[in-house]
Each structure stands twice: as structure tokens, then as C-alpha cells.
């Protein structure tokens, strides 16, 4: 099916009491909590593995002059040591996946320079630690601020790097009220629980990788390119994944080294990156510098919106942070300008991390809107309502659905927004208390995806596709979709995912997983229904699937009986994006509300409560959807208050490269937090009428906290994260000045 027109009425609309939407527990949950779900590193399907360990470069720019591996080679258990001098020939880079050990040149700190394979993990790691490198060091570039001068217009990713409408500069210059502010966000790391890990094994010129990867078909294609093989010779298996957040969209060094190592020693090789290696060897979210310019009339109506963003990546790569994604459609204004520029720095590869673009862009945009509201003395919710567009302001097309204003209003009522007071005026004991709001928006994409479903002899069905479940609940929502389409309980739906031998699927990323894979399954279920009806010799129009039976008029037959008579019945389905993508502006929307306490003495910021109100079309499973939304909000809390990869400006290495010093929120940082969904169906989005939710929760979340910190203290901090030293500086200045903030 190509999504060329609104889907119209579907069998899912006939099941108000069906499985979809119900807060059903994860169907693989028991396996996971009992340790019975094998993650990549734990699989026992490949026997007698050897173990691999990486060696990282200790400089950020220069050349390897000499690499001494003699001690490592002589260590007990060592089977092979691989360096740029003996690495076997590799194929071509594809997307961001490139051959390893490609030469003596070092482009960033932590770049792998050697790989040791040994009989045991301990032997591999001990041997790796003995490898010594001599370098010809060069001076690298590590500062985005300094890199702005040489930044370039990047090649287009999803949408053009620049956009313009009307006369931004003129309109901004003439606007009665102007906000012109710079926000900065730091490098962040995905910090997923399961590190990157792979076990690889060869049979002839076919390689199998049990790995932790979000998008198997994409990974298959890029690894095939790097290995110089046709894609069908590369099999990826990722049945269970301990989080990805974009860090596993593409295969990383663990996969390539495991495969090269396995080829070299002639047996399976397993590699897991250490937590420290996760920081330097994989990918990161780039730091950004963003300039926001908002020009408004005294009544708050925007006449000019400008958003410029600078980010950086490693030499030879073109990934940039699309910070102005949301700015292009969120608020009305007839004069608009967005720009993205990319600097090349000797830092690890920049790539996608949960809501690339929106996650950091809305940290800036939604605070700039708060600053404008403060200047105008207009309530920040009212300011947003006054700038609600009637159609997508840049694309000039209607919104498929848009309930930003209802989300803001519902949230305001539930959260007690009317209790918000002027900045710096509410104190409870040692705590300065503030409330903040932010909009949430995230593009809703649909990706090509296919699925197969088979009616088994016992009347159950088996769903098969190369989809992944990265912890989001994909297994479960697919079972719910098939269950509703075929009138079966989830226990009668078997879901097989995570293997490139299965029909190609979109994978998990960009909030497109559930909608794309689920729609492919929907189409496959439609086809299977037709085949079952045909096999049962029922009239198709009247057929109804319920309680394991197909019913037509006064005739009814169990699926088991039909399968018994007709044999296995199998159907496939495919979804492709179509005209709806361009004909409508498709976003998920929401509103974040945060209450923070700021310690008046120490500047410590603590979240007190938080609420997200969201719309995402049809909610497929209220429990897993809520978990996704809350998980995104927690990411936002981290971005606002603590997450920062610190770059040593002298060496270009990431100073705090472990989870003791790279802080993500702990349980105590997340008190009362809730997410609710408003009813919605989006018939332009996909056949399920659902929209993406995996990233919506992070979009704008941190800005709600930053705005709450301002409301609590009267101190505006434009440099994320809002650590206590920055707050303290503002409090010290405020305490010295008797003038209260306005």
C-alpha cells in the first residue's frame, strides 16, 4: 500500500473494545526480567567464540608513527592482533559506516587503532592494554565556537539546510519587540543500558552477526558495503536490544571488528564495547550554538522568526544537527529564516540521538518564546496560542492533525498553571519555586516496511519481519494489531523480529517504527483476512473476525478449522510513504509542564513535578506509549540539568567518559512525572491512524525546566545544562542587586 490518500474506515475502527490502546504488558517482558531473553553478547547460537578487545587512539589528530604489538602477540591466549598494517582489504564506506584501521591517520581521540582477539575476554583486554603507539601529533580543532568561522553549508539530510520565507531581516529589524539570543547545548551521549556488542561468524563468504542494532536492513546494506559483499551475504540478528536512542541506528566498530576478527581466526568472535569506549568509539549528539531571533508586535503576534544553528562532526563526515526542524512549522510568522552550518572538528562522529534536531533545537526555541512572553508580559501559553498557524507556515500545506493548543490548555488545567507567579517571587523555605511550559513537536515519518503473517494449523498466527524492538514495546503492539485484525488474543499471536532473513522492515528510529512496521502488518493482515475468507468460502463484505473465528451472517468457522482444511495460509503486506507525506504537514504535538525548586543557597535545581500532554494519533498501547513519553521527558530533564560530555579543549578527549561523571537522571531526580494522551486519529499518517511517539517526549521537555528555573529565580541561563555553578552565578548577581527581576 502506498499512503496516497486518507485511509478511511478500517477494521481497527470497529474495535472500540479491542486490544489496541489497551495497556497490555510487554509480551516479552517475562523473558527480559528473568534473564531469559538473549541479548547480542549472550547468544549461544554461535559456539566456541573467541573474544575481541579494541585499542583506542590516545591523541585526537596526527599519525601513528609506530605501533608496538609484540608484547600483546606474546600474551597468553592471544589469537590475533589486527592493526592498520595487517587489516584485510575492506570495501567502501556507506552512510556513516566506514572501514576500520584504514590507515595511520588519526582524526579523533579514541579512534580504534588495534584489535586483539584472544581465547578469553580477560586475555583480550589484558593484551590490548599492552599495545603502545607512538604518534606524530598535530594540533587538532575541538572548539565549535572557534569552528564557526570555517563552518560550511552542509549537504541536505532530510530537508534543505536553509529555508527562507518573506523578508526576515527587514521584518525583524522593524519589529516593535525583539528577542535576539544565543543558546548553547553540549555534546551528549546516548548512555543506553546495553553497550554495543556483536558476535560474528562466517560460513564461506556469508557472515552472520548477532548484534545490537536498531535498523537491520540498513545495517545489512552498510556492512555489506564495508565488507565488499552483496547484502544477501550479510545476516544481522537483533532480537532483543537494551536501548539504542539513535546510537545503534548504524553498525559501529564492534560489528566490523567482530566480523574481521572472526574471519582472521576462523571461529566466532564476540566484542562488546566498554562503557568508556561508548563515548569515544561510537557516535554522539553534537554540541550546538544556536541564535534565535523573534520579532513580534506588542500583542505578541510574531512577524519574524529566525533560527540559526551550528554543529560539528568528525573530518570527512556531513552529519549536522537539524536544530531548526520544529521552528520551520511550529509558529506562524510571515517572515522566516533558518540556517544550519557545520564545522569540522577532531571529535568523534556526530550522529542521531533521540529526536536529532528537535531535542536541542526546541531547548533554544521554546526558551526564546518564554523570553518573548516575559518581555511582552504575556502568559507563555497565551503567546503560543496567539501564534497558532492555520496551516504549515513554510510548506503551505494543511496539518494532518494538530492539537498543540488543546494540549497546552489541558495541561494548564491539570497542572495548575494558574498558580504560576511572576519570576523570582515564590519561595518555600530554602526553595525558590517556579513553573515552566514548553510546546512539543516531532515530525511524523512513514518508512517503507513489509511484513509476513501466517495462519498456523492451531488457529494462531505468526508475524514475521526484520523489525526491531529496542525496548519500546514493538513486539507487543504488533501482537495487538494482528490480534485485533484477526480476532485473536495476544497469546495467539507469535511475533518474530530481529533477523534480516525476515521481510524487510523500517527498523526502530526517528519515531517511525510503530507506524511503519505496524502498517505493513496491517496490510498483511488485510491480505490474510481476504485469504481466510476465500478459504472459508464466505462473502468478503460481511466477514467479521472475533474470538478466533470468522463470522459472516449466520455462518461461523474457527480459524483452526479453516487452517486445518486449507493448510497454512500466509500473506504479506507492504507499506510505502505516498502523497500524504507532502500533501499534509505531519507532526505529533504536545505540551510540557515542569515545576522546579532551586536551592536559594546552593543553586541546586531539583524537579518537583512534571506533566506532558501529548497527541500521537491512535495510541496503540497506553502503557508502552506512556513509557515512551516519560522516557523522553526524563531525557529532557537530563538535557536541562546535567547531561554534558566535557571536551578537554587541549586534547580533544572527552573528560567524563563514564556514567559516574556523565550524569543522567537518577531515580531521585524524577519525582512525580506523568504523561497523558488526548484522543486523536490521523487518517493521513498511516493505516493505523497513529503517529510517532518515541521522540515526542524529549522535544521541548528540557525547555520547560529551563523556563521553570527562570520563573523560580529570575535568572535566565542560555548555556545547557543548567548546573548549579551557572545558577549560582546568577543568584550571586541577583543577591548583590536589590532590583527584583521583572
Amino acid at each position: 500500500m502506498d499512503m496516497n490518500q486518507p485511509i478511511g474506515h478500517t477494521p481497527l475502527d470497529d474495535r472500540p473494545d479491542g486490544l489496541l490502546g489497551k495497556p497490555i504488558d510487554r509480551i516479552e517482558g517475562r523473558l527480559k526480567v528473568t534473564g531469559a531473553a538473549p541479548y547480542a553478547y549472550e547468544t549461544r547460537e554461535l559456539k566456541n567464540p573467541a573474544y575481541g578487545a579494541l585499542v583506542e587512539a590516545g591523541i585526537a589528530k596526527g599519525r601513528i608513527r609506530r605501533l608496538d604489538v609484540r608484547a600483546a602477540e606474546a600474551m597468553p591466549g592471544v589469537l590475533h592482533v589486527m592493526t592498520h598494517e595487517n587489516v584485510p582489504p575492506q570495501g567502501e564506506k556507506k552512510e556513516q559506516v566506514a572501514p576500520v584501521l584504514a590507515g595511520p591517520e588519526i582524526r579523533h581521540h579514541g579512534q580504534p587503532i588495534a584489535f586483539v582477539v584472544a581465547e578469553t575476554f580477560e586475555q583480550a583486554r589484558a593484551a590490548a592494554a599492552t599495545i603502545r603507539a607512538e604518534y606524530a601529533r598535530e594540533t587538532g580543532a575541538y572548539s565549535l565556537r572557534a569552528g564557526i568561522a570555517g563552518a560550511v553549508i552542509p549537504k541536505q539530510l532530510q530537508s534543505p539546510p536553509d529555508s527562507a520565507l518573506g523578508d526576515f531581516e527587514g521584518a525583524f529589524a522593524g519589529a516593535p519587540v525583539q528577542v535576539d539570543v544565543e543558546y548553547t547545548t553540549p555534546v551528549q551521549t546516548h548512555a543506553m543500558m546495553e553497550p554495543h556488542a556483536t558476535i560474528a561468524s562466517w560460513e564461506g563468504d556469508h557472515v552472520t552477526l548477532f548484534t545490537s542494532n536498531q535498523m537491520l536492513n540498513r545495517g545489512q546494506a552498510s556492512l555489506a558495503s564495508v565488507f565488499g559483499l552483496p547484502p544477501e551475504n550479510v545476516r544481522l540478528v537483533s532480537r532483543y536490544i537494551g536501548g539504542g536512542f539513535g546510537g545503534k541506528l548504524q553498525p559501529q566498530a564492534d560489528a566490523i571488528f567482530a566480523a574481521l576478527g572472526s574471519k582472521a581466526v576462523g571461529r566466532p568472535v564476540k566484542v562488546a564495547l566498554t562503557r568508556q569506549q561508548e563515548f569515544h568509539v561510537t557516535t554522539r549528539r553534537s554540541d550546538t550554538i544556536q541564535r534565535l531571533r523573534l520579532g513580534a508586535e506588542p500583542d505578541g503576534r510574531l512577524v519574524a522568526i529566525g533560527h540559526e544553528s551550528w554543529s560539528d562532526t568528525t573530518p570527512g563526515d556531513g552529519f549536522y544537527e537539524t536544530s531548526a526542524n520544529a521552528t520551520r512549522s511550529l509558529y506562524a510568522a510571515s517572515n522566516r529564516m533558518t540556517k544550519h552550518r557545520l564545522a569540522t572538528l577532531n571529535l568523534p562522529l556526530a550522529s542521531a540521538m533521540r529526536a536529532p534536531g528537535e531535542a536541542v533545537g526546541m531547548l533554544a526555541l521554546e526558551c526564546a518564546m518564554d523570553e518573548l512572553a516575559e518581555r511582552l508580559r504575556i502568559d507563555p501559553i497565551e503567546l503560543r496560542i496567539r501564534n497558532e498557524p492555520t496551516q504549515d507556515p513554510e510548506k503551505g500545506v494543511p496539518f494532518s492533525t494538530r492539537q498543540l493548543v488543546p494540549c497546552l490548555r489541558e495541561g494548564a488545567a491539570r497542572f495548575g498553571w494558574d498558580k504560576r507567579r511572576a519570576a523570582g517571587t515564590t519561595r518555600e523555605g530554602q526553595w525558590l519555586v517556579g513553573l515552566g511550559v514548553s510546546a512539543a513537536a516531532r515530525l511524523n515519518p512513514l518508512r517503507p516496511s513489509s511484513a509476513a503473517i501466517r495462519l498456523e494449523g492451531d488457529g494462531s498466527v505468526t508475524v514475521r519481519m526484520a523489525m526491531t524492538d529496542i525496548g519500546t514495546g514493538t513486539y507487543t503492539i504488533l501482537a495487538q494489531i494482528a490480534g485485533d485484525m484477526l480476532g485473536l488474543p495476544v497469546e495467539r499471536v507469535h511475533v518474530e523480529l530481529g533477523d534480516t532473513r525476515l521481510p524487510k522492515a523500517a527498523g526502530s528510529g526517528g519515531s517511525f517504527g510503530a507506524g511503519s512496521a505496524g502498517s505493513a502488518l496491517y496490510v498483511a493482515c488485510e491480505a490474510l483476512r481476504a485469504k481466510i475468507v476465500a478459504a472459508a468460502e464466505l462473502g468478503p463484505e460481511e466477514a467479521r473476525f472475533a474470538d478466533g473465528r470468522v463470522v459472516s451472517g449466520n455462518r461461523s468457522e474457527s480459524l483452526a478449522d479453516i487452517a486445518g482444511r486449507a493448510g497454512d495460509i500466509e500473506a504479506t503486506g507492504e507499506i510505502k510513504p505516498g502523497a500524504m507525506t507532502e500533501a499534509f504537514s505531519q507532526y505529533s504535538y504536545g505540551a510540557h509542564f515542569a515545576e522546579v525548586g532551586v536551592d536559594a543557597d546552593t543553586g541546586e535545581v531539583r524537579l518537583r513535578r512534571m506533566l506532558g500532554v501529548f497527541t500521537g494519533g491512535r495510541i496503540l498501547n497506553r502503557k508502552t506509549a506512556r513509557s515512551q513519553a516519560i522516557g523522553g521527558m526524563v531525557f529532557g530533564v537530563g538535557a536541562a540539568l546535567m547531561e554534558e560530555v566535557v571536551i578537554d579543549s587541549r586534547t580533544g578527549h572527552f573528560v567524563n567518559h563514564d556514567l559516574a561523571e556523565y550524569h543522567v537522571p537518577a531515580h531521585a531526580d524524577i519525582p512525580a512525572i506523568d504523561a497523558v494522551f488526548l484522543p486523536e486519529l490521523d487518517d493521513k499518517a498511516n493505516p493505523l491512524k497513529s503517529k510517532g511517539l518515541g521522540e515526542l517526549g524529549i522535544c521541548g521537555a528540557g525547555a520547560a525546566l529551563a523556563n521553570a528555573v527562570y520563573n523560580a529565580t529570575g535568572v535566565r541561563i542560555r548555556d545547557y545544562p543548567l548546573t548549579l555553578d551557572k545558577v549560582l552565578r546568577g543568584l550571586e548577581a541577583r543577591d548583590r542587586s536589590p532590583v527584583r527581576p521583572t
Binding site: E56, G58, E122, R125, A126, A129, Q276, Q430, D601, T602, G603, E604, R606, L641, M642, V646, D648, R650, T651, H653, V655, N656, H657, D658, A660, E661, H663, P665, A666, H667, A668, D669, T723, L724, D725, L728, R729, E732
Partner: protein
Amino acid sequence: MKAFTYARPKTVAEAAEMAAAQPNTRFIAGGTNLLDLMKLQVETPAHLVDVNRLGLAEVTETGDGGVRVGALVRNADLAAHPRIRRDYAVLSRALLAGASGQLRNKATTAGNLLQRTRCPYFYDTAQACNKRAPGSGCAAIGGFTRIHAVLGASEACIATNPSDMAVAMRALDATVETVDAKGTERTIPLADFHRLPGDTPEIETALRPGELVTAVTLGKPVAGTHLYRKVRDRASYAFAVISVAAVIDKNADGRIRAARLAFGGLAHKPWRGPAAEAALVASNGDPDAAADAVLAGAKGQGGNDFKIPLTRRTLRAVVAEALRA
């Protein structure tokens, strides 16, 4: 990780003898810090002597009104001990402010005293560090110094001691009891137990090679309001940016009779401020007088300059709370 031998003696004497007989031996108890350091090859002991079977896990009365805390009393147990909660509340509070529940269940009293700095340059074997590799230099100076020392630092090392427990013990004038392979017992005041870095930051304590900590003793309970204020970057599971341990005692008329103040996150060792204590008593509760006294020689590295006003402000809050109590 480098290969090492492992032994699990059953007596203190045996453990001390093993350590004396083999250079490059480490005692291991909870392992909550040592194992991480070994995986990173920051610590590369040739021998591990597991002390978990030595007993030493009791909190007992000393006879002079104080308590003796066995070296292997777990942090969680010590924090929850009724006597500690009642009479040494600053210590219980400091313990509970540290690490996480899981870590406190494993970590021991002696191990906590001996935990190493969290300086990220110390943790990264690709960086110069005089503490890890004497003579290699200090990469932290001129680098990312947010968590580093503002008092007592040297040109060789600007690391801080990360312990919360030790700060409270410093306020309580605890003493450390040790034994060596010859059976010689020593009592070391906590004030002298941790060292400033000077030119030898690799030598962190007064312990001699092979000497085993057997207990920490606390004297008679110190009267007054016991407070531990830890300032940190997240609500749990974060080391102190700075911390203040205070025991402040008032007369019936509300005047301050006595004060004890110790600080964490400022120096290479828990920092006691006798001048600050005297100033607080003399001024009858002026926290700025106390802050002036303790911070007189404070010097930031740039990235940690904020610790100086932060300490002052935190001290104000602590004193205010004690006076309210």
C-alpha cells in the same frame, strides 16, 4: 585487567602477613572502587587479599562512652545503626548521602576511608597523573577542574577526596586503628590519616605498606545539632561538589557554645576548619566570619572557582539550620 593472585585469609594476622610478604598487594573488601580501578588498570595489584572473612564487622562500645566501628562494617549497616543514628547523626547522614543503596550495602568503613579520588584524569590512563604515575605530570591543571581542590592543592596534584563518610568522621575527631604483620597496633587520628598531595600525591594516607585498618573509633558523643549538607549535581548517586559536616551546640540562651565544621570536596583530604569553628563561636553564629576563616587561603583553578562562594553560601544555610534547630 592484569593477572593477580587472590587469597582469602581467616585472621587479621594472616592478612597482614600476606600483605607484608608480597609487595604490590591490595586488601579488598567491598571492591566498589578497587575493582573499577583494576579494570581500567589504574590500579594493577599483583596480589589481592580478601579481608571479608576477618570479622571486624561489629559496632561495639569502647568503655569510655564512644564506639568502635569495625573496618568491615558496611556503610548501609553503619548508617542504620541505632547508636550511630542517635549519637553520631552527622555520620549517619553523611553515609546516607553517599553513593547508592546497592553500593552502600557492599562498601565498608575502611574501604570508604581508602577510596581514591574521582579526578577524571586519574581515571584515564591516557592522561598524565602524578597520583597514578608519579612524575608524569598533572593533566587536570589547566584542564576540566570543576570537581577539583581549592584548598591544600599542590603543583603536583589538585585532586579531591570523594568520601562523605570521612568528612563526618573528621568533624567527630575519629581515630583509625591499624595492625601490621608484626602485630603492632597503631592509633592514627583521622586528622593525620589522609595527607595533602604535596610532591607525593601517590601517597594518600599515613598507612605503611601492609598495614591493615581494623577499626575506626569515635569518642564520646558530641553534643549539638548534627548536620551534613551535601551539594551535588543530581539528587542521588553523585559525589559531593562540596559538603559541610557540622555539629553546633547552643547554650540555653541560644548562644553558640561549641562548633565543629568539616568540609568535603575542597581538598585532598576532609578539611577541618578550627579557625572557622572559633570564628563561629566568637561571632555567635556569623557564618561569613567562619567562611572567611576557612576560605582565607582558597584558590580556584578556573573551573572550580565557584566552590568558594558555594562553600560560603552552604555554610550560611547550615548555620542557619543549626540555629533554628
